[in-house]
């Protein structure tokens, strides 16, 4: 059986792209002929990934298996509907469109269409997999038969592969500032506006020597401009750093330099940065929403709503009380085992076998 994977885009440093490559590596090891297709292919992926338009003929083979990764709307989802072989849908979640309303019409519409496409995809899939239980439940809500759903966590095996940039790390840590970190796209659903307000309470009332690093692409100008204005009106514009998208080396550097990882996001289907923080031994303070309690398990500290003062004081304890900090980090390391590559690999094997024999 030939196995194809189809996705929106493939690029280095992207969690879904990495997941696709990890699945591909295992399938090859198990003796399958494989191919990866995507609409957007970054230059570094050109030797490994083929344009999605080239998969149409191959999908006519009834002995093929197509694994489709849905993380954003892409018209190439139609290939999944047309495929004559077995079909596995891997759902990485699509942010509800309302978060982008008024900020970015393109993204808002893509999210609406993506969730519409989801209903069509689950209707024809032999198996629909979420990368968290939360995502699996969304698959069921979209119409997937319960017995045809499962959870396949994201492969996270390349963590820590990139060394930190020593010079940059020195620069970030030598001033003895308290470094707050958040990683991800700078979009309204990530609650960056809440995070900045929370940070301003912490910085102004508790610890003046604090800096908030917001690491991630700032591809939504209206929202980013509003955030700049917010930092100015709260008097923290010199304490909040928007780095934009960074290399894997720099990302590792920011994690190594971080004293605290804060998640104010309203919607996460899994949250890879939360797991990265656990890996790098950074205590996590997170909003209790969507898949976050599941990803964190009993680790980290959650907040159910943004009570600025208690949450800021909790942040202070996580940074300043070594006993609490050490226990939180220890628990996070335990939780990390949930995402052990061998476990994910076993699950993948079971799902492939399940589809293969039917």
């Amino acid at each position: 059986m030939r196995v194809f994977q189809l996705t929106n885009g493939m690029m280095a440093g992207d969690a879904v792209s990495n997941h696709v490559l990890e699945i591909d590596a295992r399938l090859r090891r198990w003796g399958y002929n494989t191919d990866i297709f995507a609409e957007y292919i970054a230059p570094e992926m050109e030797t490994r990934v083929r344009p999605d338009t080239e998969c149409a003929d191959l999908l006519k083979d009834p002995n093929s298996l197509l694994i489709y990764h849905l993380s954003i709307y892409n018209p190439n989802y139609r290939y999944f509907l047309q495929a004559r072989g077995k079909r596995i849908l891997v759902y990485h979640n699509i942010t509800p469109a309302h978060f982008f309303h008024g900020w970015d019409a393109r993204l808002e519409m893509q999210c609406v269409l993506g969730r519409e496409a989801l209903k069509e995809l689950v209707a024809v899939a032999d198996l629909s997999l979420g990368d968290s239980e939360y995502n699996r439940q969304e698959l069921v809500q979209a119409g997937a038969p319960l017995e045809k759903t499962g959870v396949l966590p994201i492969f996270l095996s390349d963590f820590g592969a990139q060394p930190a940039d020593a010079a940059q790390l020195r620069q970030l840590t030598q001033k003895n500032t308290t470094n707050w970190l958040t990683v991800g796209r700078v979009v309204p659903s990530k609650g960056i506006h809440d995070l900045i307000r929370l940070f301003s309470v912490y910085q102004r009332a508790i610890n003046a020597d604090a800096i908030l690093y917001i690491v991630g692409s700032t591809g939504m100008p209206a929202y980013t401009d509003a955030l700049f204005k917010l930092t100015q009106s709260l008097g923290v514009s010199d304490r909040v750093v928007f780095t934009g998208r960074v290399s894997d080396t720099l990302l590792t550097t920011y994690y190594r330099a971080a004293d605290l990882y804060v998640i104010a996001s309203y919607h996460e289907g899994f949250c890879v940065p939360a797991v990265e923080s656990m890996y790098f031994g950074v205590p996590v303070l997170s909003r209790k929403t969507t898949a976050l309690p599941e990803t964190l398990g009993d680790a980290g500290i959650l907040f159910t709503h943004l009570g600025y003062e208690p949450v800021a004081e909790m942040a202070h304890l996580l940074v300043s009380d070594s006993e609490i900090r050490d226990r939180v980090i220890k628990k996070q390391k335990e939780q990390l085992q949930t995402f052990n590559s061998a476990r994910v690999e076993n699950k993948l094997r079971q799902f492939i076998d399940w589809v293969d024999v039917r």
Binding site: A56, P75, R106, L230
Partner: protein, 162 residues
């Protein structure tokens, strides 16, 4: 001034049994009382007021026009252009016809047609997004008009009863 009276009011949830959550919450409460007494925290109103004016006014815009939305959805699917794949039902030499046509198709498509298809797809996407934006503004205007009508009707009723 509102304070954390008991642990059930706190937004914090500590699930790790190795942590003494009651003690942590007590310490937090004590710190809050101290810093409030020193007027250290920014006022909640200030935090709210700093963000609200920056949020786009979306109160009167909702995607509720099912027909146009359905149309846009179909247009979006059709906006994505695909190259044609050849097949032939001619016996014996069918494979040769297909092979020649595919070879020609590969040459022309890869270097000439495919970029044009992508460009057209992008163009179509932009047109659809523009239509979607127009739909949004239209719905917003519609909503505003409804509200103005209601206000007018109230004013008319009030002046009539005087």
């Amino acid at each position: 001034m509102k304070t954390i009276e008991n642990t059930s009011q706190t937004p914090l949830e500590i699930r790790d049994p190795s942590l003494d959550s009651a003690d942590i919450l007590r310490r937090i409460e004590s710190q809050i009382s101290r810093r409030r007494a020193e007027i250290k925290y920014p006022a909640a109103d200030e935090l709210q007021a700093a963000w609200l004016p920056l949020v786009p006014d979306t109160t009167s815009v909702r995607i509720d026009d099912d027909y146009i939305f359905q149309l846009l959805k179909e247009l979006t699917v059709d906006s994505y252009l695909q190259e044609v794949r050849f097949s032939s039902s001619v016996p014996m030499v069918g494979w040769l016809i297909v092979a020649i046509r595919r070879a020609w198709n590969w040459m022309s498509t890869r270097w000439y047609v495919l970029p044009a298809l992508k460009q057209q797809t992008r163009y179509n996407e932009q047109v659809i997004i523009s239509m979607y934006r127009l739909l949004q503004s239209n719905l917003a205007l519609q909503q505003q008009m409804d509200e103005l009508r209601q206000q007018l009707s109230k004013l008319e009723n009030a002046s009539g009863s005087e």
